[in-house]
């Protein structure tokens, strides 16, 4: 099946080459970081995690969100997701790969990464995170490949795939719960020390991931003969709407607790993010942009009449995605470090090399996604006439 990725239009190859070029530039920049150390990033003693870990966190959510298609399709027999579910599974593969890469580029001594396995430490959440992420990657590769194979032959997936699919559902929840636990159990980081962290993570994941999927599905439909289905897209639109509302609700709960209790440790990070603290306000415009985009997306999504219009839906999804990206891929991490353990403010802003490396990791993700989607779409284009009998 893989050979399908090696034949394609000029447009396909141009896109692949552009991605490869970006990856190349990023790789050279990474070699620089490898040699000189993480000092070339904006990270500091006070803000010791930044853009990389933020992207990791955000992408775990994107990966977990595949479950939002798997549950309706496999548990509730919602047939309309028949064609799009594979796009979700392959998106998960690409997202987990990016997660792993972001962890890798964030490490001070990446060559020692095997130490996590050679000296397994069950009391460390990071150990469990690597276990569940690795497992999830494997599950999605196997499931995606097996179902696609079956599709190609016009049959059902083999019997052994079903249990794996069921397993992938709690597994998806676990990857994001464990990722939330990375943060939610640290004494002294008041911004993260909140029981609703995992729930909020899942809500934002189930909004952001499917929103990205809608955008991707629309792109796929535009450029190929493969149609994921209008109704499928609309159904995902509903999922995005509910999840986004839950996410904003959870955020407001956090803000209430911090503001009404007015305990300094809890209010200061919010103050820093939304209003600035002690004259430091670097993240303020970003955080407000995120809030405004969140409101815009919700307004566009809640009214079925607007949502039905696909270009409005696309617009809403883009707004939502950007909003969540800022909130979770950036603000959430930085907010945990500002103010620092001495109630002092040290600001963080990514440097150019750091940004280039980040973009190129995304490029790796897009490359994987492109190739997997190319294969999936080619298979589906061939079998377009055959009605799937699931």
């Amino acid at each position: 099946m893989f050979e399908k990725a090696l034949v394609g239009s000029k447009r396909y190859w141009t896109w692949v080459i552009v991605l490869l070029a970006v990856i190349g530039i990023g790789f050279i920049t990474y070699l620089q970081q490898f040699k000189l150390g993480l000092g070339i990033t904006g990270l500091s003693r006070d803000v010791s995690w930044g853009l990389y870990i933020g992207q990791f966190t955000f992408l775990v959510g994107v990966a977990a969100s595949a479950v939002m298609l798997v549950i309706p399709y496999y548990l509730h027999d919602f047939k309309k997701f028949g064609k799009i579910v594979i796009l979700g599974e392959f998106l998960a593969v690409s997202a987990v790969t990016m997660c792993i890469l972001f962890i890798f580029v964030d490490m001070g001594q990446p060559m020692r990464i095997m130490n996590v396995i050679l000296h397994p430490t069950p009391n460390s959440i990071m150990f469990w995170d690597s276990v569940v992420l690795g497992g999830y990657l494997g599950l999605n590769i196997i499931i995606g490949w097996a179902t696609l194979h079956a599709d190609k032959k016009g049959t059902r997936p083999a019997a052994w795939v079903k249990p794996l699919i069921y397993l992938s559902i709690p597994w998806a929840i676990s990857i994001h719960t464990v990722t939330a636990f990375l943060y939610a159990g640290l004494p002294g980081r008041h911004f993260w020390l909140s029981a609703i962290m995992a729930a909020r993570f899942l809500a934002s994941a189930f909004a952001g991931g499917p929103a990205l999927l809608i955008i991707l599905a629309l792109i796929v439909r535009k450029f190929t003969k493969f149609d994921p289905g209008k109704e499928a897209i609309q159904a995902i639109g509903k999922i995005v709407t509910y999840a986004m509302i839950a996410n904003v609700f959870f955020l407001l709960l956090e803000i209430f607790t911090a503001a009404y209790s007015s305990i300094p440790g809890h209010t200061h990070p919010f103050k820093y993010l939304y209003f600035g603290l002690e004259g430091h306000a670097r993240l303020v415009p970003l955080m407000w942009a995120s809030s405004i985009l969140a409101i815009v997306s919700i307004v566009l999504l809640v009214f079925p009449s607007i949502r039905k219009n696909e270009s409005m839906l696309a617009l809403a999804c883009i707004a939502l995605f950007v909003s969540l990206w800022i909130d979770k891929g950036f603000g959430l991490i930085i907010g945990g470090f500002v103010p620092n353990m001495f109630e002092k403010v040290t600001e963080y802003w990514p440097t150019l090399p750091e940004t280039i490396i980040t973009i190129s990791v995304w490029a790796v993700g897009f490359l994987i996604l492109t190739i997997l989607y190319k294969v999936a779409v080619s298979v589906r284009e061939e079998t377009a006439g055959i009605e799937l009998e699931h």
């Binding site: 993480l38 962890i103 001070g108 130490n115 430490t121 640290l186 004494p187 002294g188 040290t346």
Partner: protein
Amino acid sequence: MSMDRREFLKIAGSSTFLATIGIGAGWILSRPGEFLEASQFLQTKELLKAKQWAMVVDMRKLKTEEDYKKVIDACHRIHNVPNFDNPKDEVKWIWLDTFEHAFPGQESEFMPEQMKHKPFVLLCNHCENPPCVRVCPTKATFKRKDGITMQDLHRCIGCRYCMAACPFGARSFNYRDPRPAIKEPNPEYPTRMIGVVEKCTFCEERLAKGQMPACVEASNGALVFGDISDPNSEVRKILNTNYTIRRKAELGTRPVVYYILDIPTSVVPGGEGNV
């Protein structure tokens, strides 16, 4: 050929997989165990022993700028702690900060000027329930039997999870090569490399030689070091007879660095007579 392509790929794939596991297992098993029967590893005879080492910082005895400088320089010089002169890449094992930053939330507008501005000596608290140890994915940070929170710099992967977890800001990451930032390296102690996290080790290398920590030695009695589980130790005697505070004790990490505040005697009723 009788084998079709799929079958070939399956066999090739699974044999590669098995070979990888085999090589991996072989490598792990072949790592040195007891490879020289008669050899032994022992503790030094001079080693100072304890169940839980602890420290008391008597702020009353730290008076001049010189007093502070001696304490900090003693540590940073013998441990090859680099000096980058910028807060971003900064590495420090022992350092100074004011009351409101060392004990956030405890300060008040009206506290004695002397307490408000007098710097406190801060270092790793060698917590009895250390979050840094809990989160470390490789056991590079671990608790020794004598209560020291130790760093294995050979094993640290530089994930900085411990820095996020330590509520005391005691840990520093090597953002840059530390070598050029060490003025006079101590040839008897290693430096660190890019990408690992370091902190105070309670001078375990000196304890092994029967010596007190360098900062304690340089402090003229302001820093006192001892076994907190031993009721007859000097630290316990001080704790029994003085009011002491610890940093962020409410977080439950059980820090073992205690501070005696320098309260101006004039504000304590009957102050002179109470020592």
